[in-house]
């Protein structure tokens, strides 16, 4: 399907697709580091399946991006052939895998924010995105259920699990909102009806949706986002390490296919 978009809308849409694809890609790769070493066997299967879902979502989003920009790059070029500074994922996902509590908190914060973002895109004026999001939400629903169960389990446990969860929240809290921090092209997205609501409004909805749960679990409220204008740039050493890992096969044999 060829959709005629004015350049400003096209650029804004490309940036949104890149942000979403990189989010799913980096989280998927990061969580896949647990394959084989997760705390229990069932969770090894679950986190590997979650990671596989995210990489699939990233691939589908990179394909939409490749079709939109139509400059000869394919999904794999976007996924693997950029330097670390070229990635546009939220700073929340720059945090390393860490311990199990860290992984659960990072995923909980991401999945709940992503759910709000996806909900706002279901009726997107850009049909290919609306269609993909409709399908992705059916899978992400399971992710939110699963990670919320873990989040509550750690928060309601006595002693070490709760202490580790609190430490992870303290570490990542200031970066939690970066998934929904405004994009520089925000206005063009809104005007073209790509998203049902602007990102600051989505961030408000997301924070409101968490407040009851945080109260019930006696957890401190999330702090405001630190440096929101750098929410998706200036990546961490932990990400540079991960980038080196996930591009290693590609660099070993550029252009190889399965």
């Amino acid at each position: 399907m060829v959709v005629e978009l004015i350049p400003a809308t096209k650029n804004a849409l490309a940036l949104l697709l890149l942000a979403m694809a990189d989010d799913e890609f980096v989280l998927g790769y990061s969580d896949s580091e647990w394959t084989g070493i997760a705390p229990i066997l069932e969770e090894d299967v679950a986190i590997s399946s979650l990671a596989q879902d995210e990489l699939g979502h990233a691939q589908a989003l990179y394909r939409l991006l490749a079709e939109l920009v139509a400059d000869g790059r394919d999904a794999d070029n976007f996924a693997y052939d950029r330097p670390p500074e070229g990635y546009y994922h939220a700073r929340l996902l720059d945090h390393p895998r860490g311990d199990w509590a860290n992984t659960i908190v990072r995923r909980f914060l991401y999945d709940t924010a992503d759910a709000v973002r996806l909900e706002a895109l279901v009726g997107s004026s850009y049909a290919p995105l609306a269609e993909l999001v409709g399908k992705m939400r059916r899978e992400e629903r399971y992710h939110v259920m699963h990670v919320t169960t873990w989040f509550e389990r750690l928060a309601t446990a006595e002693g070490e699990p709760r202490r580790r969860l609190l430490e992870a929240l303290e570490r990542m809290g200031p970066d939690a909102g970066t998934v929904l921090s405004p994009l520089p092209t925000e206005l063009a997205l809104e005007m073209a009806g790509i998203s049902e609501a602007p990102l600051p409004e989505l961030e408000r909805r997301w924070r409101a949706s968490l407040s009851l749960l945080f109260e019930r679990l006696r957890l401190p409220a999330l702090p405001p986002t630190r440096d929101p204008e750098q929410a998706r740039t200036a990546h961490s050493d932990a990400f540079r390490w991960l980038h080196d890992e996930f591009t290693s096969v590609r660099r070993l044999d550029p252009g190889a296919t399965w």
């Binding site: 069932e42 299967v45 679950a46 590997s48 399946s49 979650l50 596989q52 879902d53 995210e54 990489l55 699939g56 979502h57 691939q59 589908a60 049909a127 269609e131 993909l132 409709g134 399908k135 992705m136 059916r138 899978e139 399971y142 259920m145 699963h146």
Partner: protein, 154 residues
């Protein structure tokens, strides 16, 4: 040999019913409700598939298997996928559900309606929402003490 002159949608759909799912080979792509559209033209055959999951790694294998099976009709075959219509587990046919049960898979249902495919008991537990592939969950039957898999409800 197939007479190329009598190729019609029904013949193509019949052939598609022979293409097995690579991950659960007891069911075909037709049983799973993955076929959204079949177009038979004098110069080509076009098939539109619905992936069960966005990142299903079997999609390319399924596309190749469909193209291979339909190549018998002697005209170019084009197989595409789309998300325009989301695949949902409701698309699995009644015979597909029966075949799943017969091979130890519970078909997708509401949580309260899950039955053990071995003994039929409803006294089952959810072991893991996630299973060996993206589309499967792990369950356990407390009545016959048999672990089994369920096709995820999406």
């Amino acid at each position: 040999m197939i007479d190329a002159g009598t190729v019609d949608e029904a013949a193509v759909r019949l052939a598609l019913a022979e293409v097995a799912d690579p991950e659960i080979p007891v069911v075909s792509v037709t049983d799973l409700g993955m076929i959204e559209r079949v177009e038979v033209r004098p110069e080509e055959i076009r098939v539109e598939l619905l992936p069960t999951f966005v990142g299903c790694p079997a999609v390319d294998m399924i596309k190749a298997a469909v193209a291979e099976r339909l190549s018998a009709f002697g005209r170019p075959v084009f197989v595409d996928t789309t998300f325009r219509v989301p695949w949902t587990s409701e698309r699995i046919t009644a015979s597909g559900r029966a075949k799943l049960r017969a091979s130890g898979f519970a078909p997708p249902t509401a949580d309260s309606a899950v039955r053990c495919p071995y003994c039929g008991s409803g006294n089952v537990a959810l072991d893991n929402l996630f299973g060996p592939t993206q589309c499967r969950s792990l369950r356990y039957c407390r009545a016959c003490r048999q672990p089994f898999e369920q096709f995820k409800t999406v």
